[in-house]
Symmetry: D2
Subunit: 343 residues, 4 copies
């Protein structure tokens, strides 16, 4: 099966390339880039040296293939979706263009009208933990927001088990690495300025809130994002309050029932050792979402944590997992890397 990537010079596109080059069922056919045409993939993604001799092509040189991954800047996929969809019977779009099913929500969070409203209904939201069944018969799958993914996976067990006290707000404080900002240099990403920073942005009103509201059906969830010293990784700390009487045992039951069969979600809540809660650093390069929680039974306060690699479970990893489901491959195919320790 042949797969190509539209927009492969960015970080998410580069990760898709890495995963497909090692995938047992797929051959990476072509990768496009507007600014790197003719360069080897490994000139931009130095880890791929020795793994491929592919050179970036222009989008119009792309040939029909079996699966198309689209990793263009925000807004581009919706403009070109007709042409893109003509290239392959199956398409995974990593951008935010086809994540929100509600046009009003799209306009609210992205500040503009959607350019391809009739396409929205054709896409399945790209988180396998929420839409596995639909993916198996899907032709079009959207990407996931990395911060939304960490939030959704942290809160999903509490929503499914109906444990949340709806009268109190859910505050999700999210710590992110610098790769989340993409590969365009700016003064904010200049190493002497960015290094060691603990820099809040989107203290209120983060766009990924729309994905959480849609997927979990919550209306009182509030995200805040803080950039920290890290390249890859997201830790979502979801602060919430439980219905009266909820116990630690209830939470264990909720997390286990939600995730016990999930191939890429691990519950991390240990009483000893160093890594007692989810931590993103050991997830670099892996497709795992590590989920854990803490509860103060006296006050009903709970903290649910989810760590992911934003470029993997938060982007390329979920995209390949979705492709596996869509194409009938083993769900873990090409995603077996365990992550590193120490790192």
């Amino acid at each position: 099966m042949k797969a190509s990537i539209i927009g492969g010079s960015g970080y998410a596109g580069g990760e898709v390339a890495r995963l497909l080059l090692a995938h047992p069922n797929v051959e990476l056919a072509q990768v496009t880039s507007e600014s790197h045409v003719g360069e080897y993939l490994y000139n931009v993604h130095p880890n791929l040296r020795g793994h491929t001799k592919l050179q970036f092509t222009t989008p119009d040189q792309i040939a029909p293939c079996d699966v198309l991954f689209v990793a263009l800047p925000h807004g581009e996929a919706q403009k070109r979706i007709d042409a893109l969809s003509a290239l392959a019977p199956r398409l995974v779009d990593l951008s935010a263009d086809f994540r929100l099913r509600d046009l009003a929500a799209y306009k609210k969070w992205y500040g503009e009208e959607h350019r391809a409203p009739n396409w929205i209904g054709k896409f399945v939201y790209g988180l396998p933990e929420l839409h596995r069944a639909e993916m198996k018969s899907a032709s079009y799958i959207s990407g996931v927001g990395c911060n939304a993914t960490a939030t959704n996976l942290a809160l999903l067990p509490l929503v499914r088990a109906d444990l949340l006290d709806a009268s109190r707000p859910i505050i999700v404080d999210i710590k992110v690495g610098s790769s989340e900002g993409g590969n365009s240099p700016s003064l904010a990403s200049h190493h002497p300025e960015r290094s060691g920073s603990v820099r809040t942005f989107s203290a209120v009103g983060h766009r990924h809130t729309g994905e959480v509201e849609q997927e979990l059906g919550l209306t009182n969830v509030h995200l805040s994002i803080t950039s920290i010293e890290m390249v890859r990784g997201v830790l979502a700390t979801a602060h919430c309050f439980l219905k009266a009487g909820a116990t630690e045992k209830d939470l264990w039951r909720a997390y286990r029932s939600t995730y016990k069969d999930e191939p890429f979600v691990r519950i991390v809540k240990d009483k000893t050792g160093i890594y007692r809660y989810p931590e993103p650093k050991i997830l670099a390069g892996s497709n795992y979402a590590d989920v854990g929680f803490e509860i103060d039974e006296a006050t009903g306060r709970a903290v649910s944590l989810c760590a992911i690699d934003n470029l993997m479970k938060g982007a390329a990893g979920s995209a390949v997992q979705a492709m596996n489901l869509m194409c009938g491959f083993a769900e873990r195919a090409g995603l077996e890397f365990a992550g590193l320790h120490p790192i």
Copy 2:
């Protein structure tokens, strides 16, 4: 005026030594350490090389002085307070031993009975922004918790201006550096394990909550702490909800009226540039608390941020500022360092 330090081999004690060696009104007389007796201060604190030839002495070699700083491990000061207080007419204790005025609160947060209950009333809580007037006539001043300090300074304007909606919880998500854990090595602080970590501890039930409840009179405040890649620094992100109708203007007014005359609190809330909100990295070595905020007027949600250097404003800096007030020195004496950029 002669000052000595009991327990000067730790990080907070070392900072007090650095500040006193450069202080215009004080001579650093003696510094004790149980495990480094006879060694030069600069063997432990290499930045002091060339600034002092002092060697660590044992506690029983300490001579009477004018001000005594005590920087012992938790629980030690309350055991020895009678002997310590005999050494100097003025004493600043950096530990948690004399911060809480309520014995039940002390027992709740520290899990044990206080050993010197009759001394508690003699201490003024060590945050000048809250107790400046009392400090001017005080003889005994307690330390401050670093996480409590960042939280208290973030929330103080909202409390004073009575802007908080008391029916909804205040969630304070706090990011901290590794120096907060002190100078005892462990596997958790071993560089390959600690480096790059985003490690939650005290997700619920953090001890410093007691200091926030006491100083701000709040009962619905919840702290969670996450260690990140950083040596010095705290960023407290206080998520709260405001009374109906509160506007950004109200917040500006509240922050300005609270802090406009404070020598060590700066309001940081810019529309341009990189450093639009408080960030701890530029505060390393300085005594500033940088405070900022964001508001979503539609939902009444506010996020108040406070960044400090945990060893300075969160420990030694506040202690020296308190000494300045207690001794009638200029409040900024010895604390003029601006911090560095870039860093």
Copy 3:
């Protein structure tokens, strides 16, 4: 084929475990640890959560197997080699115990008599690039020193092509990460002290010099080691002088002829892009050695660079590559991971 690991709680042993768990030809049978008996591997190596339910056993519970990996502290393998070798027909020892073939050299660099001198001749030095043929019929393979490996691979092309001016010294300045020091906490590895350090140790007289002298036949090579802010990784910068008339073309020829068929050595010397020379960070978790060079034809000065992941090519990766050769597996089996970008 069953493989077991003696000493699997350390960093190198943990990496062997990770590699064997994903190896297509091997089943990881048992892993020992003296201090973690009964714990799950993933309690110590959190990246293995979900990849194995193995628990650490004591060394005396170990059953016979097909290949035994030994990753004990220095000096232990030579004490127990008779017993260890009875457990399996093939053995790879990652320590320094069986690397040096000359007993006098061993005593010079390790300051003690060897405890198992009759075993030394049975071991093949563990770098496949130097001993591939012997490994195919070997039963006992030693480990490699990580700093020695980076040095040997940097200098090998110059030695083979006889380009070095022997009258001038070869200075190898080596930058290393914190994982090289193992997993025992100390004040030197305590995060606030180790973070951001550029800390020279072994400025002269580094032990790995013995491995370089033995493998390359050089007598004028001098290693200096500096710890920098990094967990995994080694960059060896070999400063040397070439015979009169040597040109950049000669060097290209030397590097290409040495490495063109090596599965895990890449020549990195680009004129554009960011990653023009070898850099360790993109090698984390991979078994590559990236090698590059620069020459000043006017002075005959050359700088040869080699970057590796110290736990992979410098320890566990080379060990597994050696096992692959010894057992007749595909040389790249279990070692295909490309490394990550960005990281």
Copy 4:
């Protein structure tokens, strides 16, 4: 005494501003910037918030003053030196424009003819440890190269004591932080790419070699530069060989006689503790150069180390120290900051 800064939005200019704002003998009058006219200094240098209300002006708004600091990009000062020198009787230029006294050397290292050759002889090279006496009667002082400074201070004692074996090369392997590259963003300085890198540049032919050759009279010195994970700091590791018979005692004598009266050079060579050799991290913000050494008496090999903060001793700190000498101020005035530990 009034001082102004031409080019104050860069990192070195910002450090001069920080130092002058706290200087007991100087008033900072004006600071220019072409791209930030009208902005507050603290918008660019956030550490200066609360320390000054100065706004950047254009160069043509600059008024005559007593001392002028020039911190323009390379090549600019030589173009404008006539106009600049008309503004103040004393001038310190931080750029490389007036460091080299030999026009041929300038052309060799900078690849172009000098634009103001008649001015070169008027400048004193800006390292006080080498030119203190001349500075006291100077009107024009050049800057210093940061890498050259660390190299010069590492090797000066060996040169003065005539201990170097001239027949063997001196290799100086220099590790530097990201602030050395200035404040212009590029892909190479983009945080996800630059973070954690160990990136060699100028493996051969580094420009600062010219300053070392000039100041120390050496002809066989070779510099190589490697960028590491650090914002501020330089560690120069000078690998050299000594004349036959040289001992550790000889080196101690040489270092002590060279530096015993230097206010900003400390000899760091301890047998215990963690900080046994010079390390840049504890020097952030300080004007110290820490110098140490190691010797292998058997081979005559010596390693001399010098650590500095590139923006301080390697730029702004030396410039202010030079101003102090030129103006008859106390040499340490404004430069007393001890540096931080831990950091």
